[in-house]
């Protein structure tokens, strides 16, 4: 890499404001350079903050390794789960992580079909986040099995016991929903990467880098034939992924809604879970995108326009979530059901009342600041808000799982749930694992879709030019 290119890496970028989805003066070549150089820069010019970040994340990840090793050795007794609270952190964390994953699919599939051009700068990033979040989520159901090494019993396969998974259980629907989601997300992410991997291959200077990118670029040459087929495949995948945005968290909410427990047995669960998932997903995208754009000077590619749009999506989905909470309270009163009413009062004022109050504060009250344009454009405050919503959405699952379970139908079986150090260790460990993967991703792969950015530039350039007169239609 030339000296002037290295210097360009350190040059701070200027945010062009909310009217532009990309900074001024970019050409096809410079936008490619800018994005590719984040990954292709020499090892020594990696920002120190990156090393610091991945170091901390990697250390946190050890909590997952140590915690789960001890869990496999001793059994689920190392966790705080005790009857009547048989579902603890494992399920809370599972739902939280899988919810976070939803923003990726929404951005990449639904916004693609809706032709929202502001998705381009953040879709790759959000898809990677989805994939890594689903990986964290997928671990928890396996960890919480009493005998995790028999996890494959969840899949229907011809076995010598002639036993099949119980198809009437939503836990089995979960297995299929999540594994489908993981597969489609991975495919979507990888297919989207192929042309960019070819760009990286062509730009890399060292042979091993060329080979590594080239191997995964699958011989992409960028011919018209390639592009035609590629567009078709990508659109089909987007179509496949679209229903998943709705279906996956709906099925996750069935884990609760199908049961007959007060606080779980509610028809509002599916829509309110889906809205909550997108809410937390966008919060996580912001939590990750804001430091990344600062660290790698990408303010002219991830602009205020993107932050503003994401903040609006958060506000919208946050209001749906607020409606869900309101309906829960309303139905507790309106149904006249003794148990439902008790559950609601206990949730708000019982031993876990603190978590409910914090939940209302983090998910409903504080995010109302997003109505203000000045807040949406204030990057540090927006970052803080995204963290608050992440905490709030985690608390939501904590409240749903723990407060509904800890007061059983029979007062004699009432109990309390206290997470142990291993609960916290494994939870923190997955955050570490997730961040480690994200740090590696932004350093190794193009974190922003290069070819789609070039397409956006093309559209901007030709938007105001007169359209050529339509010629005679060709039959084909």
């Amino acid at each position: 890499m030339k000296v002037e290119e290295l210097e360009a890496l350190e040059k701070p970028a200027i945010d062009p404001g909310t009217d532009h989805i990309v900074g001024p003066g970019f050409t096809n070549a410079t936008v490619t350079d800018k994005i590719a150089n984040v990954a292709l820069r020499p090892f020594r010019s990696t920002p120190m903050v990156w090393f610091l970040g991945i170091g901390i994340a990697f250390m946190l990840m050890q909590g997952l390794l140590i915690g789960s090793a001890w869990l496999f050795y001793k059994g689920v007794g190392v966790w705080g789960v005790v009857i009547p609270v048989a579902w603890g952190f494992a399920i809370v964390n599972f739902v939280w992580w899988i919810g976070i994953g939803h923003a990726g699919t929404l951005i990449s599939a639904i916004l693609l079909l809706l032709k929202q051009d502001w998705r381009t700068s953040i879709n790759r990033f959000a898809e990677a986040m989805t994939l890594f979040a689903v990986a964290q989520a997928g671990m928890f159901p396996i960890l919480h099995l009493g005998r995790p090494w028999l996890f494959y019993w969840l899949m229907p396969y011809p076995n010598s016991m002639w036993l099949w998974p119980q198809p009437r259980s939503p836990l089995i629907w979960d297995v299929f929903a999540v594994s489908t989601y993981a597969t489609v997300s991975l495919l979507f992410w990888y297919v989207g990467l192929v042309p960019d991997l070819a760009s990286m291959r062509d730009r890399a200077t060292k042979l091993w880098q060329k080979r590594a990118y080239g191997l995964f670029a699958l011989g992409w040459r960028g011919s018209t034939k390639h592009w035609t087929r590629y567009q078709m495949a990508y659109l089909l995948l987007a179509g496949l992924a679209t229903p998943l945005v709705i279906s996956v968290h709906t099925v996750v909410s069935f884990d609760f809604a199908i049961s007959i427990l007060p606080g779980w047995h509610t028809t509002i669960f599916p829509p309110y879970f889906v809205a909550g998932a997108i809410y937390s997903g966008f919060a996580m995208v912001l939590t990750l995108a804001i430091p990344t754009r600062k660290l790698f000077h990408l303010e002219d590619i991830i602009t205020s326009r993107h932050l503003d749009s994401m903040a609006k999506v958060m506000l919208g989905t946050g209001l749906i979530v607020a409606y869900g909470y309101m309906m829960e309270a309303f139905m507790a009163w309106y149904s006249g059901q003794f148990y439902e009413r008790f559950m609601y009062l206990n949730r708000a004022t019982g031993p876990y009342g603190w978590s409910y109050l914090m939940l209302i504060a983090c998910n409903i009250a504080i995010p109302q600041l997003l109505w203000l344009r000045s807040v949406r454009l204030n990057v540090p405050i927006l970052f803080m808000l995204s963290l608050v919503i992440n905490v709030g959405m985690w608390l939501e699952r904590f409240v749903i799982v723990i407060t509904s379970l800890h007061r059983d139908w029979l007062p004699s079986s009432w109990g309390e749930y206290h997470p142990t150090e291993f609960d916290w260790m494994i939870f923190a460990g997955t955050i570490g694992f997730f961040l480690t993967l994200m740090f590696l991703f932004v350093r190794i792969l193009p974190a922003i879709s290069i070819f789609e950015m070039r397409e956006v530039l093309h559209h901007i350039k030709h938007r105001h030019e007169p359209q050529p007169a339509p010629g005679p239609a060709h039959g084909d």
């Binding site: 011809p158 076995n159 010598s160 016991m161 002639w162 036993l163 042979l207 060329k210 080239g214 011989g219």
Partner: protein
């Protein structure tokens, strides 16, 4: 710019597509074969015994009934292994000096039991009762095979859960009249399913697929 991959890489990548599918197929086939084969189930595997006891000789040639040795099969969960005295009731008179029977005589002299190696060994988490099967019209040969034709004892069935369930889900396929239970050569009638259904009703065969029936 020089090519970054050798020309042969094209072939490797094409082969790896087919090879990947084949490899997965091979792994599945191997896993299935090991799981279902004798390696895992011990079907048709003859085990070393202190005395090479021949069921064929005692049942076919001599006409001894199963219950002469397996005394508790009709009343207990365990069919019972014969005490040394049962062996000696004949072998104190015939083949009394045969070298092959020395362990039996030694057991008789010292009072130490013969240590047979179990051929049909169910895991501890399965509750199995011989008497209920025998009393509801399941023949010895249905599970143990033609023991009267085995010079040395071996399993003919896997004793896997799917094998148990094959009958527990559809007992009419195998049930026979009670008086035929100990008949090794019994042949089911041509209308076994119809006939079996009648017997199932007559013998009140029920509750066969509750988990609790076998896993208590």
């Amino acid at each position: 710019m020089a090519q970054i991959f050798h020309r042969g890489t094209n072939t490797i990548s094409r082969v790896s597509i087919i090879g990947g599918v084949l490899l997965i197929g091979c792994i599945i086939t191997a896993a299935y074969t090991i799981d279902r084969g004798s390696f895992n189930s011990d079907v048709a595997v003859v085990k070393e015994q202190p005395v090479p006891f021949s069921h064929k000789h005692h049942v076919s040639d001599d006409g001894i009934d199963c219950r002469y040795c397996h005394t508790s099969v009709e009343t207990s969960h365990f069919a019972g292994l014969p005490a040394t005295e049962v062996c000696m009731s004949c072998h104190s008179q015939i083949w009394a000096n045969a070298n092959i029977l020395e362990p039996v005589r030694a057991s008789w002299r010292t009072g130490e039991s013969l240590a047979w190696t179990r051929v049909h060994d169910l895991p501890e988490f399965v509750y199995f009762n011989h008497s209920i099967h025998v009393n509801k019209g399941i023949g010895c040969a249905s599970c143990h095979g033609r023991v009267d034709q085995m010079p040395l004892m071996f399993k003919v069935n896997t004793l896997y859960m799917n094998w148990c369930l094959d009958c527990h889900r559809q007992p009419e396929k195998y049930v026979r009249p009670k008086e035929q239970v100990f008949n090794m050569a019994y042949q089911p009638p041509a209308n076994q399913l119809e006939f079996g259904k009648k017997l199932v009703a007559e013998y009140h065969i029920q509750k066969l697929t509750d988990c609790y029936t076998c896993h208590r």
